[in-house]
């Protein structure tokens, strides 16, 4: 019975990954469209959109006349893109499937599904996509779709191949409500940092593009995105939410460590890296208020910060010895 449910969970996960892959393709087509040279008149623009929708396999009736080929004679690509819309819907579908997979895993295990690397990756990517979709309802971040779905696919791919373990009970050290709080908040923080990272990355590309226009298609693509300054402000807002959550993770972790190990801080490898990440993002926030460090330099700090987050998750958990080594990996 449990084995059946567990394989159902894995099946749902594979389906979710397949749909994420389709969503990735959709977002990539959207980016390709953004990077194609500006269209000259309404007629060509219209037919291009129709072609696009036919290619991704949606009903042509869905295609609305592009809105931006309006007064100015279409110097920028249409804001509404069928490819991006389809990709967003697919992402929601894949996310729903993945939530099902994760919830089933929790049902089988009779506990919360984040006690080992496999489950942590599962829940982690659910939350990253969730944060992304949540932000999407307020800000148009569809240009980050390839990054988010791509990252999710890579993480899920690695974890299903490398870290899949059969369901096992929670070891006594993890039997604490702090597992719910500490780990979950850490995952949500990671979701915000991931989006901040992607924004900073585009910001850097955008700032560089201002200097060189060597790759024409890239330049066109970047012109369709918000300006570097807007991206920087957006990245900052996303990252400070991540930073607050990370601060909470650090404090909650210390409280749990005090309960479980008898000391609130002991420079365990995972504690060290959590501290390093906290300091890096503190640096990022201060950089925005430091003369000469706004703009690209602070963006680099955000990128280094997220690299440390990934390192903490992918390398420290697996290759470093410490108290945080996950059960059965």
């Amino acid at each position: 019975m449990t084995a059946d449910l567990d394989s159902l969970s894995v099946l749902a996960l594979y389906s979710a990954m397949a749909v994420y892959a389709l969503a990735f393709v959709g977002f990539a087509i959207d980016l390709a469209r953004r990077s194609s040279p500006p269209l000259v008149d309404q007629a060509t623009s219209h037919s291009a959109t129709l072609n696009m929708s036919a290619r991704v396999g949606t009903a042509p009736t869905l295609t609305l006349p592009p809105q931006t080929t309006t007064e100015t004679g279409a110097t920028k690509p249409p804001a509404r893109s069928t490819a991006a819309r389809v990709a967003t819907s697919l992402t929601v579908l894949a996310w729903t499937l993945q939530i099902g997979a994760t919830a089933l895993r929790g049902v089988v295990a009779e506990r919360l599904p984040w006690a080992n690397m496999y489950e942590f990756s599962l829940t982690g990517t659910v939350v990253i996509v969730g944060v992304y979709l949540g932000l999407l309802t307020r800000i148009d971040l569809r240009y980050l779709g390839t990054f988010i779905t791509g990252l999710t696919l890579v993480l899920l791919g690695i974890s299903t191949v490398q870290y899949y373990v059969p369901v096992s009970p929670l070891p006594p050290a993890l039997q604490s409500y702090w597992l719910v709080i500490h780990v979950f908040v850490a995952i949500v923080a990671t979701g915000f940092f991931a989006i901040g990272f992607a924004l900073s990355f585009i910001q850097l590309a955008s700032a560089r593009q201002r200097e060189t226009t060597a790759i024409k298609r890239l330049a066109t693509l970047l012109q369709s995105l918000p300006t570097a300054e807007k991206l920087e402000n957006l990245a900052y807002r996303v990252n400070i939410i991540g930073f607050i959550l990370w601060t909470f993770t650090l404090i909650a972790g210390a409280i749990w460590a005090e309960r479980a190990w008898g000391r609130y801080w002991g420079w365990d490898t995972k504690e060290v890296w959590t501290f390093i990440i906290w300091v890096l993002y503190a640096g990022y926030i201060h950089a925005r208020a430091t003369a000469g460090w706004r703009g690209s330099r602070s963006a680099w700090l955000g990128i280094v910060g997220f690299a440390a987050v990934l390192f903490n998750f992918g390398i420290v958990n697996v290759f470093f010895t410490g108290l945080h080594s996950y059960s059965g990996l």
């Binding site: 449990t2 059969p166 369901v167 096992s168 009970p169 929670l170 070891p171 006594p172 050290a173 039997q175 604490s176 702090w178 402000n233 900052y236 807002r237 400070i240 930073f243 607050i244 601060t247 909470f248 404090i251 210390a254 409280i255 005090e258 309960r259 479980a260 190990w261 008898g262 000391r263 609130y264 801080w265 002991g266 420079w267 365990d268 490898t269 060290v272 890296w273 501290f275 390093i276 300091v279 890096l280 503190a282 640096g283 201060h286 950089a287 925005r288 208020a289 430091t290 003369a291 000469g292 460090w293 706004r294 700090l301 420290v316 470093f320 010895t321 410490g322 059965g328």
Partner: protein, 548 residues
């Protein structure tokens, strides 16, 4: 004096100090120190640390005999107490203090000061709205309404009236809010200093001690009865609470249903009794992982467990020369355990034994024994016997978990071609050479406890919560100034201008200004009557926000 060059003004010692202080407390230096701190923390995760993993350090020295002393000379095994790590964070905190003291003074003044004068031209701000009305409203009526609205939004408000000039009358309201943002910022940084001080000083008053207790035995909370003890710098052993702790029972639940996780421990329970020595008051309690027991000013944590076989050695006449529950250290997840028995007196020579204990013994293809399940299903004890000098008489302290075989002769097992002694529970066997007998009477469990006292950790928690609270207020409460200005021209037209200025990151300034402006028009019951209007972006976006 007519110096030859502008740059040649000599700095006296005081000048140099001031220059250095200014450098240290600059934002750029603080940022560099922060990044340096992150970088300096990295090596401590790459190399084992004495504080967290002393055995790892010993192992590292064995594995890297050439590299380890070099690393040790730069304190790579004590990164977080090293001179270089400490100097980075101390410099950072000095820089921090140098930053927050003047800011606190400045903020204290700002808290009592009135909002600044209304700027002459409001249309140079990014967040700007204006409307012209044709209703005959006096400037006072408009500023009254604006004041009421702004005060309702918890702004600090001050009004300015300008005397009429060339037929125009002008009045304005200057408002500011969000002082809590800076307060939160200062609380955040001050609390970080609080944490540093609490950790630095407070660590000195506490202690940690470890002790192994076998089921049925007890431990008295005195310095001498700890297996290991790490006191803080200012700790006084006289302050140890006078109680004893006995381990009545230690229970482990193993997974038995899930085939893929068979034998995985799912619960540890230590049933204990504490007894206060003066009052004789006793209490029964349980200690679990994640559920420490508070006794007096100390917390008692369950850290580890294992088996303690009761072993008895008799001389040829049958007199008991040794009997004890000997804690064996677990070597793997199925609790194959290693222990040492030392019999210094009573036999013809001193005898040492190295034992392996298998809770559920099985034989590998190679013929070696192993344990296949952590519970006592088929327990077996094997003993390799040594005789000679145990090295105890020199008075040097020796580990009870290790046997120095350099002055001993092996009698069974290994290369001696004499089979190791094998005992099931209740069995007895002869020692080689007719020295006597050894028996395995029973097998108990032991638990290892950590006793911990940290009188300041409550302070650390308090400061941590203040850090989080300060962070939230400093990042999410917007500090902004808003001005409403009204002017009446000679022909009776009334203009209302609303402008806002963000102090710090404030993505919602524009909507806030628009919202206020519209509410003001509504309050004046004029929403329907604007002659011209709408939000126009200012022609020259050179607001104060942009100048940096």
């Amino acid at each position: 004096m007519g110096g030859s060059s502008v740059a040649a003004i000599p700095l006296g010692p005081g000048g140099w100090l001031r220059w250095m202080w200014r450098q240290l407390t600059s934002m750029r230096t603080a940022l560099l120190l922060l990044l340096l701190l992150a970088l300096a923390a990295v090596p401590g995760s790459l190399v084992p640390q004495r504080s967290a993993d002393p055995n790892g350090v010993t192992q590292y020295f064995t594995n890297n005999p050439d590299l380890a002393p070099i690393l040790d000379s730069v304190q790579a095994f004590d990164v977080y107490t090293s001179v270089w790590f400490s100097s980075i964070y101390l410099l950072l905190f000095v820089s921090l203090i140098g930053c927050i003291v003047p800011r606190t003074i400045h903020h204290a003044r700002a808290l009592r000061a009135a909002p600044p004068r209304t700027p002459a031209r409001l249309n140079r701000f990014d967040a700007y709205r204006h409307d012209t009305l044709d209703r005959p409203l006096t400037p006072a009526e408009i500023t009254d309404a604006a004041t009421r609205l702004l005060k309702g939004d918890r702004y600090r408000v001050i009004r300015f009236e300008q005397p009429a000039r060339d037929g125009t009358a002008e009045a304005s309201v200057s408002a500011e809010r969000g002082y809590l943002r800076e307060t939160g910022n200062l609380v955040f940084h001050t609390s970080l200093i609080g944490i540093l001080i609490a950790v630095g000083l407070g660590g000195g008053f506490g202690f940690t001690g470890q002790r192994v207790i076998v089921e049925g035995q007890s431990f008295i909370n005195t310095l001498a009865s700890y297996d290991s003890f790490n006191p803080g710098r200012f700790f006084d052993p006289a302050n140890l609470d006078r109680y004893s702790l006995s381990l009545d029972r230690f229970t482990v639940d193993y997974e038995q249903r899930n085939r893929k996780a068979l034998g995985q421990p799912i619960d540890y329970t230590a049933d204990v009794t504490t007894r206060w020595q003066e009052s004789g008051k006793t209490d029964s309690a349980t200690i679990k992982v994640n559920e420490p027991l508070r006794v007096g000013a100390t917390d008692i944590y369950l850290l580890g467990n294992g088996y303690a076989p009761q072993i008895t050695v008799r001389d040829p006449a049958g007199n008991i020369v040794f009997t004890d529950d000997v804690p064996f250290l677990p070597q793997d997840s199925n609790l194959t355990s290693l222990g040492v028995i030392k019999v210094p007196d009573g036999l013809a020579q001193q005898v040492g034994m190295v034992g392996f204990f298998y809770p559920t013994q099985s034989t590998l293809a190679s013929g070696a024994y192993t344990s296949i399940y952590p519970d006592l299903e088929y327990p077996l004890l094997t003993l390799n016997v040594y005789q000679g000098d145990l090295g105890l008489d020199a008075g040097n302290p020796k580990s009870v978990y290790a046997l120095d075989t350099s002055t001993l002769t092996q009698l069974t097992g290994g290369t001696t071609e004499v089979k190791s002694i094998e005992l099931e529970a209740g069995q007895s066997q002869d020692l080689p050479g007719g020295m006597g007998t050894v028996s395995l009477d029973s097998v108990k469990r032991f638990a290892s406890f950590e006793v911990h006292s940290d009188p300041v950790q409550g302070w650390v928690l308090l400061f941590s919560i203040l850090v989080l609270g300060g962070l939230l207020t400093s990042l999410f409460i917007p500090r902004r100034r808003i001005w409403v200005k009204t002017s009446t021209t000679a022909d009776g037209a009334v203009t209302i201008e609303t402008a806002g200025l963000a102090r710090g990151d404030d993505p919602r300034l524009q909507p806030a200004v628009s919202h206020l402006h519209e509410r003001l028009l509504k309050a004046l019951d004029m929403a329907s009557a604007p002659v011209t209007g709408a939000a126009e972006p200012s022609p020259t976006p050179t607001g104060e926000k942009e100048t940096r």
